[in-house]
C-alpha cells in the first residue's frame, strides 16, 4: 500500500512539474531571416514545491546544455527550440519530471513523424535543435548528457557527472566529485575543487587550476594539457596523444604521467621535494640531473628538494620523448 502511495505521489509530482511549462512564458515565431525557420522559447520552473532539489539529471541529445549554479532554491529552465517549420517544431519536446525525493529529470525528445496521429514531413537532424539553459541551486548534484551539443557547467558545489559523444564539455568553478566522459568531444576544466575523473577517446583534455584529492585523466588519441594542477594524486595517461603538465606537487602526493606513443613534458613548481623516475623509448631530459642514455625498459631516477614528505613523480613514454623540470 505504501508503495502504491509513493507511486501516486511520484506521478502527482511529475504532473506538477509537467504542468509548469503550460503556465510559463512562451515566445514563438520565425527566426527573422526569412527562410521560414521557427523558434520557440519557453521558461519554466521544475521541481516539487517545498522540496529542496537534490539531484538534477539533464538529457539533451538535440542541442546544448548550460547549467549555472546560483543561490536560489528552485530549478529554472529556459528552453529554446529551433526547427525549419511549425510541423517539425511540434516534434520537439522538453519533458520535466520531478520526484518526491527532490530529484528532477529534464529530457528532450524528437517524437516519431507519425506520433499524435499526423504524419509529418521528415526533417534533417542538423535543422532541429533544443538548447537548454538551467539555473540550479548550488548544492544540487548534476548529471548532464549531450550528444553533439555543448555541455557547460559552472558554479555548483556538489559535483557533476557528465557525458558527451562529440560535443565539448566545459566545467568552471565546481566543487565536489566531477566525472566526465566523451568520445570525440573536448573537455575543459577550470577551477575544479574536488576529485576529477575524465576520459576521452579522440577529444583533447585541458585542466587549469584543479585541486582536490585526485585528478585522473585518460585520453586515447587526444592530447592532455594541465596548468596549475595541485591535486594530491595526479594520474594522466594517453595512448597516442601528448601530455603537457605544469603542476604543484603536494607533500606525500604523487604524479604519474604516461603515454604510449606521445611526448610527455612535466614541469613542477613549489617547495615540496620530489623523487622522480623517468623512462622513454625516445629521449629523456631531466633538468638539473645528469641523465644517462635511456631506454624504454630502464628507469632514470633523480631527487630534488627536501627529503621529508617527498612527492613521488613518474614520467614515461614508451615510444616518445620525456622531459621533466622543476620551475620557479
Amino acid at each position: 500500500m505504501s508503495a502504491l502511495r509513493a507511486l501516486a505521489a511520484s506521478a502527482l509530482a511529475g504532473l506538477t512539474a509537467l504542468a509548469a511549462p503550460a503556465v510559463a512564458r512562451a515566445d514563438d515565431g520565425t527566426d527573422g531571416d526569412g527562410d521560414g525557420a521557427v523558434i520557440e522559447r519557453a521558461e519554466f520552473e521544475a521541481g516539487v514545491v517545498g522540496r529542496p532539489v537534490g539531484e538534477i539529471t539533464i538529457d539533451n541529445s538535440l542541442g546544448d546544455v548550460r547549467i549555472e549554479g546560483y543561490d536560489g532554491s528552485t530549478v529554472t529552465v529556459i528552453a529554446v527550440k529551433h526547427a525549419p517549420d511549425a510541423a517539425s517544431l511540434r516534434r520537439l519536446r522538453v519533458e520535466s519530471l520531478a520526484n518526491p525525493d527532490g530529484s528532477v529529470r529534464l529530457t528532450t525528445l524528437l517524437t516519431e513523424r507519425g506520433s499524435g496521429g499526423a504524419e509529418r514531413p521528415a526533417v534533417a537532424l542538423a535543422s532541429v535543435r533544443v538548447d537548454l539553459t538551467i539555473k540550479v541551486p548550488r548544492a544540487a548534484t548534476i548529471s548532464g548528457r549531450v550528444t553533439t551539443g555543448r555541455l557547460e557547467v559552472e558554479n555548483v558545489d556538489a559535483g557533476a557527472d557528465l557525458d558527451s559523444s562529440t560535443g565539448p564539455i566545459v566545467v568552471r568553478n565546481v566543487a565536489g566529485v566531477v566525472f566526465a566522459r566523451s568520445l570525440a568531444g573536448s573537455q575543459r576544466f577550470e577551477e575544479v575543487f574536488g576529485s576529477l575523473d575524465s576520459h576521452a577517446v579522440d577529444g583533447d583534455l585541458a585542466f587549469d587550476s584543479v585541486r582536490g584529492a585526485a585528478l585522473t585523466a585518460r585520453a586515447y588519441a587526444g592530447d592532455i594539457d594541465g596548468r596549475r594542477v595541485a591535486s594530491k594524486q595526479v594520474r594522466l595517461s594517453s595512448i597516442s596523444g601528448s601530455i603537457d603538465l605544469e603542476a604543484e606537487p603536494q607533500a606525500g602526493g604523487s604524479v604519474a604521467v604516461t603515454s604510449l606513443r606521445g611526448a610527455v613534458d612535466v614541469r613542477l613548481r613549489g617547495a615540496v621535494g620530489v623523487a622522480v623516475r623517468a623512462r622513454a623509448g625516445g629521449r629523456v631530459t631531466l633538468a638539473g640531473a645528469a641523465a644517462p642514455p635511456s631506454s624504454a625498459d630502464r628507469w632514470i631516477e633523480a631527487r630534488y628538494g627536501a627529503r621529508r614528505d617527498r612527492a613521488a613523480v613518474q614520467v614515461e613514454s614508451r615510444f616518445g620523448d620525456v622531459s621533466f623540470a622543476l620551475v620557479q
Partner: protein, 236 residues
C-alpha cells in the same frame, strides 16, 4: 569532403542512395559547414514540398529536357571508366530504334523505356524521374526517401559504436602483450574482467548508457596496455 563535393552528392545523400561511408562523410561535413547545412535544409524543404504534390501528367516538352539531360550524362560518361563508356555506347545504339517508336507510341511508355535503357543514375533527383516512369493515371504518389532526424541519430549511435569498436581492436593486442608478462592467475582475472566489460557493452541500451560501458572497457584496456596497476574485479 569539401563544399563542392557535398553539393554534388547532396541529392544522393538525401535520397538515401549513398553507402555508409559516403553518407557518413556528408553528415560530417554538414556538421561543420553552416553554408552546406543551409543548402541541405533548402533541399529538404523542397523535397518535402514536392512530396506533397499530386502525380502530374508529363508535359509535352519533357522529352526534350530528358534528351538534353541524357546528352549531358553522356559527356559525363565519357569521363568515366570503360564499363560506363560501354553502357553509354549501348544507349547510343538503341536510341535510333527508340525514336521511331517514340513517334508512334505513347510519350509515357517511351520515356519509361529510355530511362530504363539509360539506367538510373543515383545522382539524378527522383522528383525529375518519377513522373516520367509512372503513367499519370495509374501512378501512386511518389514518396521521397528522405532520411529523418531519428534515422540520422541512429546512424550517429552506430558511428560511435564503430569508433569504440575500432579503438578496442587497437587496444586489445597492446593489452594482451602486457598480460602475457603477468602471472597466470592475474592473467585469468584479466580475461574475466574483460569479458564482464564486453558483456556490459552488449547488453547496454544504445546512446549514453552504451557509450558509458564502452568508456569503461576502453579505459580498462588503456590501463592494462600502459602497465598500470589495475584493481582486478573493480572498475566503475
Amino acid at each position: 569532403m569539401n563544399c563542392r563535393q557535398l553539393a554534388e552528392q547532396v541529392d544522393a545523400y538525401l535520397d538515401g542512395d549513398l553507402d555508409e561511408v559516403g553518407a557518413s562523410a556528408c553528415r560530417g561535413h554538414l556538421r561543420t559547414c553552416a553554408a552546406c547545412r543551409d543548402l541541405a535544409d533548402q533541399q529538404t524543404r523542397l523535397r518535402a514540398a514536392l512530396a506533397e504534390l499530386p502525380p502530374a501528367e508529363p508535359p509535352a516538352h519533357l522529352w526534350a529536357a530528358i534528351d538534353a539531360r541524357l546528352g549531358a550524362a553522356e559527356i559525363a560518361d565519357s569521363r568515366r571508366g570503360a564499363l560506363a563508356t560501354g553502357w553509354s555506347r549501348l544507349v547510343a545504339w538503341l536510341r535510333p530504334v527508340a525514336w521511331p517508336v517514340a513517334m508512334v507510341g505513347s510519350a509515357g511508355a517511351i520515356a519509361l523505356a529510355v530511362v530504363q535503357l539509360r539506367g538510373a543514375a543515383p545522382s539524378q533527383p527522383l522528383a525529375l524521374r518519377a513522373p516520367v516512369v509512372a503513367p499519370a493515371a495509374a501512378a501512386p504518389p511518389v514518396r521521397l526517401a528522405l532520411r529523418d532526424a531519428l534515422d540520422e541519430r541512429a546512424d550517429l549511435e552506430r558511428e560511435a559504436d564503430g569508433r569504440f569498436r575500432q579503438v578496442v581492436s587497437e587496444l586489445l593486442p597492446l593489452a594482451r602483450a602486457e598480460v602475457a608478462t603477468w602471472a597466470p592467475r592475474r592473467a585469468q582475472a584479466f580475461a574475466h574482467d574483460l569479458e564482464r566489460r564486453e558483456q556490459a557493452v552488449l547488453v547496454a541500451s544504445p546512446g549514453h548508457v552504451r557509450e558509458r560501458a564502452w568508456h569503461d572497457l576502453t579505459s580498462y584496456l588503456e590501463r592494462v596496455a600502459l602497465g598500470e596497476q589495475v584493481a582486478m574485479g573493480g572498475g566503475r
